[in-house]
Amino acid sequence: MNPIDDDILQAYVDGELDAPTAARIDAALVHDEVLADRVQQMRALRTQLQAMFDPVLDEPVPAHLSALLQPSVSAARRRPARRRWVPAVALAASLVLVALSVWWWRSDQGLTRMRNGQPYAAGVLALTLDQALASEPKAHAPVAIGLSFREADGHICRTFVVRTPPTLAGLACHGDAGWALPVLGAAAPSEEGELRQAASALPPEVQTAVDERLRGKVFDAKQERAARAAGWR
């Protein structure tokens, strides 16, 4: 009888064995702890991968994709695919982390775009960072601005909270290429259970990043308005 190697165990976990062989593994697992451990690990990997990707099945399909399958849609009206691929191989480990954070963000609404491997604000997020003043909060805006300040190297940074689920908070710093997003994190719900005050909802990693960058004071309403008038430079 063949020894039970990892290939057979793998086939067992993936449901690829015929019934007699599977029964033989079943029997072996009962009194072989090492083997049982291996199987348990392989199952855990499958489970975690599925937990990672199965939620996609329940996401609403973006309208522009289902629209492609409507017979009435003419080719001319189809939206061209955005070519925004990240040069993956060149990414350093920290960049992988950045990209994955953005990926986890499920940037369906196009709140971010990648440029040379770094995430930048896009869409309504970029618009809000450009236009909105924390001194004039808009209760129903999808993105709320928290603090604005000039960091040590001269760039202006602003904290923000995305209110629409999945809620996210981060730090955006203005440069020649737009609003770079060096830090993103899950927004902590405020005590009222909603993200009323952007500043109070900042997760610790964003708070830490602010503390590290902040020299001097955060902008008051007048400075914030002046910074906007100057194009955040």
Binding site: Q48, L65, N116
Partner: protein
């Protein structure tokens, strides 16, 4: 066939997500796949499984994108490290981030067997047919990918 494709869309998006990095990239891939499937509709015989046919298109489209990506990458100036890249704290599912990173770092031929067999639940023989390699190649790639990923398993399971 359009109805079949509509029913298949959630699974196609899941597969694309497991292959590509970001949601937007994955849905771009789905769009390319749908356009190709519609353009080649006459090549599909109704007695063949639509999902297998579409997934094969998806895999090839993904490979095309990777090639295009590698080409365009050469146009970029070398990545500067250091000050432009700030540390980013772990985003929401922190315990799975490490696994996600390990998955993203897999070579493409490993990543596609993981996406097909472990995420989509394709059988070895179907995956082999779809990837146009022998079954033994599928299982050995899968075993190596597993060994890599296993080291990055989250603790929650």
């Amino acid at each position: 066939m359009r109805e079949g494709l509509i029913a298949l869309l959630p699974r196609l998006r899941r597969l694309a997500r497991a292959l590509a990095w970001q949601v937007a990239d994955a849905d771009d891939l789905v769009q390319v796949v749908l356009e190709r499937a519609l353009a080649r509709a006459e090549q599909w015989r109704p007695d063949a499984a639509l999902d297998k046919w579409v997934f094969a298109i998806a895999r090839n489209a993904w490979r095309d994108e990777l090639r295009a990506r590698n080409r365009s990458q050469n146009l970029f100036a070398p990545e500067e490290d250091g000050d432009t890249v700030a540390d980013v704290a772990a985003a929401p599912p922190a315990q799975r981030l490490e696994l996600a990173m390990a998955l993203a770092a897999l070579p493409p031929d490993h990543r596609e067997v993981v996406a097909l067999v472990l995420v989509e639940g394709t059988s070895y023989s179907e995956a082999a047919e779809l990837l146009e390699v022998p079954v033994g190649t599928v299982t050995s790639r899968l075993a190596r990918a597993r060994a890599t990923l296993q080291a990055h398993l989250g603790t929650e399971a």
